[in-house]
Symmetry: C2
Subunit: 419 residues, 2 copies
């Protein structure tokens, strides 16, 4: 995460992009850089996501899709989907087709445990995974790529392995169902699953160095562990990698909620899948969670003021938001009253879009702030009041977790769900 | 094996050689090609091994070393060591130092199970491993690189996995001690050993694509599985890859008897070992087992007449030797009586050097054949009479093996030996 400017899933893990979009990604027309290791935007509103959809060849999550999801699950859609925080998808209609036919799918997401300092943005894939798990009543597998972090960072195996365990607690605290969720450290699980290892080899046989060079930007001086890593992030897409859950079935596709920066891994996987008679994974892509200082600045674990961490105290949260959250307001109260604030670049407002579920209240805030009726200090106070209980609640849940529960989540075992 | 001209261990597995010797290996001064995939010689006497020792930077197994081994084990040295069939080594003196100090080491060898048609030459590493195991009273680990064969050949995982099991029977039939030997299929063991997987990652982190390109000749269009495979052949060099045998100890070095063509893997491993605080493996290198048609011709599983297979009948053995074994004799009896035969290129004589343990008798045969006293037909008959019982005995032992015994050898478990 240290070298990531904006962060979605907390898993920068490859210097990515497919051949056709490589130039554009490095310094494209819109000058946004988006790959698993590096996300950079020159615009205060952040990355141009419509252009990204075109470049990546994914589909926009439109009203039609949202309505169809609501119809299938028979309850209101999550606000992060409604508000375009999850904005792009691949094959979500196919997943809904399966559900309508009474056929199964499963959720897959993950995290690279390079630090125990997880921040708010790191929770997004797990928050939406928990919601999808409840809404669709499906199992979820969550990969902790400690092996990847060992290869990429100056960390020992023992360190990344311990981080997996610490991060698992934060993930569990998001409310995932112990009867439907398997969280695994690669260092633990790969060394205990012939089936997972077999799928790694099947994938490795289908992907050349040329391809990972094109997709992830790997070079000749990268270590061979990095070069073959993409197969390890691809393997959980295939249901028979988890025989304790799915037996030897290969007909159950994965739905992957993740940051758009992780898409290169799964474009690769979708290319490989039909060649080995497996199902292509479907995806839900999220936009990038902005740093406190604004969408074009750097959010980093080494800068504690760049984000709100899951370990922050109420006071720290208040101070950070008041001192560091980039404001879209005007420079004087008079000007602000006259011209209004700019919600598109105001970080306090943007954070509320992620964490305030109440649509009506959020819209009210938007109107008041845009019109100048609400001042920056007032808006920031609302954010403080919203975030403090979320973090406090998270910390309570995390503290209450006993080792036994964490180990249960991390033990290969059958999961309960309807097929 | 299909693309190997001469074969030692039956494990061509990389297009090898280190940077400094790359040119020489591809078309060097002596025009011998020696790497894990391809061994070719233009000379009827085969590869120039003295030059190879220089190029590879290994040491010759000289009389001093042989005498020291005999002194340490207090019994006669194996004829394959005495006769220079194992001709080169790395750090064998260090292994003897350890033995003299009462410190442990272990044996490591292996095979790539690409075919169930194993031939005589494939047995060499296992014959010497069995002898070393008895002589030094040490454990042996034997890697079946079924994952490698899957990546390199047009074979399915299920096929190579089954071949592992079939090949294990031939290896066990060489007489390895069930209490001191662990034979493992990579597809089985890696997916059941966190420790082995952890060592794979430690090695992968230390080796770049540039390095495997230089050592093994990998290219951009090779699949990522091939590129990272060398770490998998390196991992068994480290004792803590086998916690059921060695616990977490990392101070026990491996001694690897193998064909000289496999050396590139272990040069790489010896380079990595000190960087991760592990012991460098020691090696004993064998020359290449010649094809029946002569040392410069191709021995191939697809040509049943190029070698004697472990499944051949006594009649097939007799016919093959009589019809196909390249003769160093003269074209007429009269000439032969006058000029004598050339033992250096005579395949019947060369095979006897591998398989006739009796030094005095072999020397007698050499004298008689060289002087012309013994005719080619007579020499061939001696070879037939030597090989037929070896193969018959092997077949009997293999047939007598029950599934339970094979599974015992292949089950991770403690091994009995003195520390």
């Amino acid at each position: 995460m240290g070298d990531t400017n904006l962060d979605s899933t907390g898993e920068p893990a490859g210097n990515a992009l497919t051949d056709q979009m490589k130039d554009a990604s490095i310094k494209g027309e819109e000058e946004d850089i988006v790959n698993p290791w590096n996300v950079q935007s020159t615009s205060a509103t952040g990355v141009d996501y419509d252009k990204l959809i075109k470049r990546f060849g994914s589909s926009k999550i439109d009203d039609l899709l949202l309505q169809r999801i609501e119809k299938v699950i028979r309850k209101p859609i999550h606000h992060m989907l409604k508000r375009g925080i999850f904005f792009s998808h691949r094959d979500m209609h196919h997943i809904l087709d399966l559900v309508e036919q009474g056929k199964p799918f499963f959720l897959y997401t993950g995290r690279g445990p390079s630090s125990d300092a997880m921040h708010l943005g790191h929770l997004l894939p797990f928050i939406i995974t928990k919601w999808l798990q409840d809404a669709f009543d499906v199992p979820a597998v969550i990969q902790l790529t400690d092996d990847e972090k060992f290869l990429w960072k100056d960390l020992k195996l023992e360190q990344v392995h311990q981080l997996s365990y610490e991060n698992a607690k934060d993930i569990i605290a998001c409310g995932l169902d112990i009867n439907k969720t398997f969280i695994f450290s690669n260092l633990d699980y790969i060394g205990s699953s012939r089936e997972f290892y077999a799928n790694m080899k099947r994938i490795e046989k289908c992907v050349t160095f040329n391809q990972v060079k094109g997709i992830f930007g790997f070079g000749d001086s990268d270590c061979i562990g990095k070069i073959s890593f993409p197969a390890i992030q691809a393997a959980p897409c295939f249901s028979n990698s988890f025989p304790h859950i799915f037996g030897s079935r290969t007909d159950i596709p994965a739905l992957i909620p993740c940051g758009i920066d992780q898409d290169p891994y799964f474009r690769m996987t979708r290319d490989v899948a039909p060649r080995i008679n497996y199902q292509k994974p479907a995806l839900l892509h999220s936009i990038f969670f902005p740093a406190l200082q604004g969408a074009q600045t750097k959010m980093s674990s080494s800068d504690p003021n760049s984000s709100i961490f899951l370990t922050d105290t109420p006071k720290q949260i208040k101070t950070k938001i008041n001192k560091h959250a980039f404001s879209g307001g005007q420079s004087t109260v008079e000007e602000h009253r006259a011209l209004g604030g700019n919600c598109d670049i105001d970080i306090a407002y943007q954070y509320l879009r992620y964490f305030m579920a109440d649509d009506l209240r959020l819209e009210e805030i938007r109107k008041q702030y845009s019109s100048g009726e609400m001042l920056t200090g007032e808006l920031k106070k609302i954010l403080v009041d919203t975030i403090q209980p979320i973090i406090a609640n998270h910390q309570t849940k995390r503290t209450q977790l006993d080792k036994e529960t964490v180990m249960s989540f991390m033990t290969p075992r059958p999961l309960k769900f309807r097929f």
